[in-house]
Subunit: 296 residues, 2 copies
Amino acid sequence: MPFATRIDHAILTAIKHGQAAPSPGKLASALHYAVTPGGARIRPIILMSVAAACGDDCPPLADAAGAALELIHCASLVHDDLPSFDNADTRRGKPTVHRAYGEPLAVLTGDSLIIMAFEVLAKAAVHDPMRAVELIRILATRTGMPNGICAGQGWESEDKIDLRAYHRAKTGALFIAATQMGAVAAGQDAEQWEDLGARIGEAFQVADDLRDALYDADTLGKPVGQDDLHGRPNAVTELGVAGAIDRMKDILGGAISSIPRCPGEAMLAKMVNAQAEALTPMQWRANRNASKIPGE
Amino acid sequence: MPFATRIDHAILTAIKHGQAAPSPGKLASALHYAVTPGGARIRPIILMSVAAACGDDCPPLADAAGAALELIHCASLVHDDLPSFDNADTRRGKPTVHRAYGEPLAVLTGDSLIIMAFEVLAKAAVHDPMRAVELIRILATRTGMPNGICAGQGWESEDKIDLRAYHRAKTGALFIAATQMGAVAAGQDAEQWEDLGARIGEAFQVADDLRDALYDADTLGKPVGQDDLHGRPNAVTELGVAGAIDRMKDILGGAISSIPRCPGEAMLAKMVNAQAEALTPMQWRANRNASKIPGE
């Protein structure tokens, strides 16, 4: 079964459990709304690719890990879009959760999805409690404080930003979670997989800067120019478009060299190259029909 | 070591890990602000009492469970106080987190504390992975959708409320988590401990209605009359003050009869009676100096 199918099935099964009656109907509906339509599901696809490269000897655990990671990502989008953060009206081509359901339900949707992520992993512990506990520990580390995406958002309220810590937490954290959780779901040690995730995260940050600078809101399905608006650092402002693309390709080259020895090493390198192509803005691609824009 | 000391030590240790440098200073500070000064810490004290009654054969796990439960409770208070929910200015006698740190950091503080709760349990898995996974599962169930405190808040956005489901989720859920997690931390089966938690939760709901109706904001350290203001159901409106007190005592009597057989059965009954006394408004108590008001 393709990774995307496994991920969507695992996510929708979790959402369905979260909606079981008796439950408040609007919040139940908002949970589904917040995770569909899927964006590129980049993080869980990286996770599944690493699990496959490591042998994927326990597919239900990899499925649970992929779903949990994407649930956390979706939760972060719902909270980041709130009026007190980015105040975004659209996401993935439709109104943001707080626009569609109101602000209280958007806060609760984010909270519920965070909790659901950990619940999915706790339930999957039936397949291997030791691995499940390690998956929960990694996901929590890369989501909360001081090294997760919450820390990344938190940096934006500081007068003086530690740029390295900011980027690593804001964008890198969930990519590190992706590679580490993929490895752990397949019974491998997490530690040696941190570097690959961090590098993919760095490349993704540059790609995100490019998309923010180059595309219009209709193409992306969400507001553009957010970095300029919020005064956030941006690779395009710093290096120009061509310079930013070079930088992204350099980083991904480094990512490929950092792939740990594993049965699926060559397949993983191919996956990273495919990501590089998908992340490159259309007009700079070798093959312009290679992939759609990986919208979030 | 008294329960309260163990709980505070476990909570503050978790907060300190969450603040490790490099981390955004304001969010790091808000984490500590949100969990201090402690309220009555009623839920983790019930948890520790049940663990003790079941033999408390693994104290670090009970400590972690107590800390995790209180972190979730504190997170829920931070989010419930937000302008789009109760819009509260004060909590535990000081400005609410969003008043002190602004709304974005209040959202992130709640998120970070939720995640920290699961991280604390994942780290404690080193003592017993099977019990830790079960603790995580119970905590998630009683926090998220469809049966946790998120569901309870979610009901308040519905036009037609299922009152039984609402109260069970909104107030009961974390008391059920308290009794079940206490039992599981000490190696017992969770199931038979649900009823005790549910009954304590019901009594607490009535007590909360009494406090909301009888005390002023200075005494409680938070705004009063919130139920009236938000049109929420209230036992005092329905039964009067004396009727509500009788009802609370009836429920706690039932709670005592529902205590499962365990070495510390008598001690637990005493704990429930002490809670009943603490929950009773001052002027209706047998001993007026028995305990301070259990403010949250």
